[in-house]
């Protein structure tokens, strides 16, 4: 690998490859690069470097590599990055079996093994049937009561979006990564690849889901927030989203990670499947480097100097 002297990020061919074969939200390299740095693709693995921190997504871009050679591929990329990029902090996330036990010259900082309640959830339309349950009834009832969905592509967020985001981020269970993750939303809302599904009660915005359309076969529900008192807004928007992408012909709708058991239950009730398995996150710091817990990502570091 010749990484140090390369003057471009992903080549056009690599971008095209990720677009064609990428299969889950972690392959939205544009969005992740806002937080993690310059993206690279080697051995079909996406990784990001910001000048000091290295982040490797061990979900391979080609899904078939999940079966064979993933561990070797991760190790090979890791070794090349350590040699060529000399990072002082390394973060890896993806399937647990792909995580290294340790790195020479580095000490472990975090080790979050896979957790059954934190999995990626997707709707695969090929074999999908809308479940007949309370959530669907709620959504239909909300529609009958006058809730409307308005889509907005490549537009500025409104102050109601920002207020709802801010209220959402006050929750104590939101971690540093999710905070940084949300802070990129106002910028990415201007992108042609970003669509917001906005729920209106009259002319009042009562909730939204922001979707990234950056992969050929997967639409990714990336951000969401709702007014607490709004009537069944979440169910209403979920149904709008599922219906829209069913009609648009995109074969997969990625609903994101479940984070906790309640959200897992909620997403499973929509008929999403959790076939991608659980997600692990391991990080390591060079012996002489002490990363602050909230500042592991470029954007957070830059904002909080």
């Amino acid at each position: 690998l010749d990484l140090r002297n390369r003057e471009v990020m992903l080549t056009a061919e690599q971008q095209e490859r990720v677009f064609r074969v990428g299969w889950l939200m972690d392959h939205d390299w544009e969005f992740l690069s806002c937080l993690l740095g310059e993206p690279f693709l080697e051995q079909d693995l996406l990784f990001f470097f910001d000048g000091s921190h290295l982040s490797i997504c061990t979900w391979p871009v080609d899904r078939s590599l999940m079966r064979d050679g993933l561990v070797q591929g991760v190790w090979s990329v890791l070794q090349a990055c350590l040699k060529k990029l000399t990072p002082c902090f390394v973060d890896l996330w993806g399937p647990e079996f792909s995580m290294p036990c340790g790195l020479p010259g580095f000490r472990p900082v975090t080790a979050h093994p896979g957790c059954a309640s934190n999995v990626n959830l997707q709707i695969h339309y090929e074999n999908y049937a809308l479940p007949a349950n309370r959530n669907i009834r709620n959504a239909l009832q909300a529609k009958r009561s006058g809730l409307q969905c308005v889509m907005a592509r490549a537009r500025s967020l409104t102050w109601k979006h920002m207020r709802m985001f801010e209220d959402f981020l006050q929750r104590p269970d939101i971690g540093p990564f999710d905070r940084t993750y949300t802070c990129a939303a106002p910028s990415l809302a201007w992108s042609e690849k970003t669509v917001f599904f906005n729920a209106y009660e009259g002319d009042r915005l009562v909730g939204f889901i922001g979707v990234r359309e950056c992969l050929e076969n997967v639409a990714i529900a990336t951000w969401a927030a709702y007014e607490k008192e709004a009537y069944k807004v979440s169910d209403f928007l979920q149904l709008c989203l599922i219906d829209h992408y069913f009609r648009s012909g995109i074969p997969v709708l990625d609903l994101g990670y479940s984070i906790r058991s309640e959200l897992l239950t909620y997403k499973l009730r929509w008929g999403a499947n959790a076939n991608n398995g659980s997600y692990a996150d391991f990080s390591f710091a060079r012996s002489d480097y002490d990363p602050s817990p909230g500042n592991r990502h470029w954007l957070a570091r830059s904002l909080s100097v």
Partner: protein
């Protein structure tokens, strides 16, 4: 009412200073609006008013508009910046606190370069910088397809760590990579042996007003600023633009640097005032949406 498409086009034609780059400022200040020549932003809690009026308005008329906005939006705080003193457009309600963040400073202003008379041959020290670049093998590149690499990020981070950069600019500069990903812009870069020595970002207000959004360079890399500005000015001139905002200067040295490029117009100096409702949980350091959102449970830390 939020800025409509036709307003955006009109805004591009009426804009005359860096501060009118509403799409960029909105990333930090909230939803942008324009009314009666006044650009303002609201993020759900803070109302931000830009008194660089799009047309030379009577502040007396603006006062009625601002007070109506205040009643309508019920903000917890109001931020006012621009050449018109806040007291001319806003009456501080009883019980509110007023903080003057910046008073007009003769060195702090936007410089607008006239491209119709721009002549690189008459720019002091430019020939020397170009000769030095040639002798050192420094290459200048300009492209609208360039992307942000880790070297760009490192230059930005080095810059924002400079204690002379204030909190607002640090936030604005930190958003440049995500801005470039969402809306590709033109980058001018100087490279030497695979190392990025500096780069500048060209942005546009509407389609008609080019703006030198920001520039970053390695410390001690003499002459790089000359190469970047020259390339941007030539690029805009050849594209038929008649003016280029070189952005704000913060020191006398930077002001002099920006004024050396030829015929230019100096924008007015400006005030920056924050007004906060008493008992508000907002602090001056958390006045903007971004730090409020990124800092965990900030009310607890007051």
């Amino acid at each position: 009412m939020a800025i409509s498409q036709w307003q955006a086009a009109a805004l591009g034609a009426q804009a005359y200073t860096y501060d009118h780059n509403y799409s960029y400022y909105s990333l930090l200040l909230g939803e942008p609006f324009v009314s009666e020549g006044l650009l303002y932003y609201f993020d759900g809690r803070v109302l931000s008013l830009n008194t660089f009026f799009l047309r030379r308005a009577d502040p007396g008329n603006a006062r009625a508009l601002v007070m109506a906005l205040f009643e309508d939006l019920q903000p917890e705080a109001v931020s006012i910046w621009g050449p018109v003193p806040d007291t001319l457009v806003f009456s501080v309600p009883a019980g509110w606190h007023r903080y003057v963040i910046a008073e007009p400073n003769p060195h702090q202003r936007d410089i607008i370069l006239s491209l119709s008379t721009f002549d690189p041959g008459r720019v002091p020290h430019l020939k020397r910088s170009a000769a030095h670049a040639r002798s050192e093998g420094i290459e200048v590149r300009i492209s609208s397809e360039r992307q942000v690499t880790w070297q760009h990020l490192r230059l930005i981070q080095d810059w924002v760590q400079d204690p002379r950069v204030d909190a607002f600019d640090r936030l604005l500069y930190s958003l440049i990579p995500s801005r470039l990903i969402a809306r590709p812009a033109t980058l001018v870069e100087t490279w030497s042996a695979g190392s990025l020595l500096g780069f500048a970002v060209l942005d546009f207000i509407g389609e008609g007003f080019p703006v030198y959004l920001a520039g970053f360079r390695q410390r001690g890399s003499a002459g790089i600023g000359d190469l970047l500005v020259n390339e941007l000015a030539l690029h805009c001139q050849s594209a038929g633009f008649r003016r280029l905002s070189l952005g704000h200067s913060y020191t006398r040295g930077l002001l002099e640097f920006k004024m050396k490029w030829g015929e230019c117009e100096m924008m007015e100096t400006f005030w920056e005032v924050l007004l906060i409702r008493s008992h508000s949980s907002l602090r001056t350091s958390l006045f903007h949406w971004l730090p409020r959102s990124i800092e965990r449970r900030y009310e607890d830390s007051i």
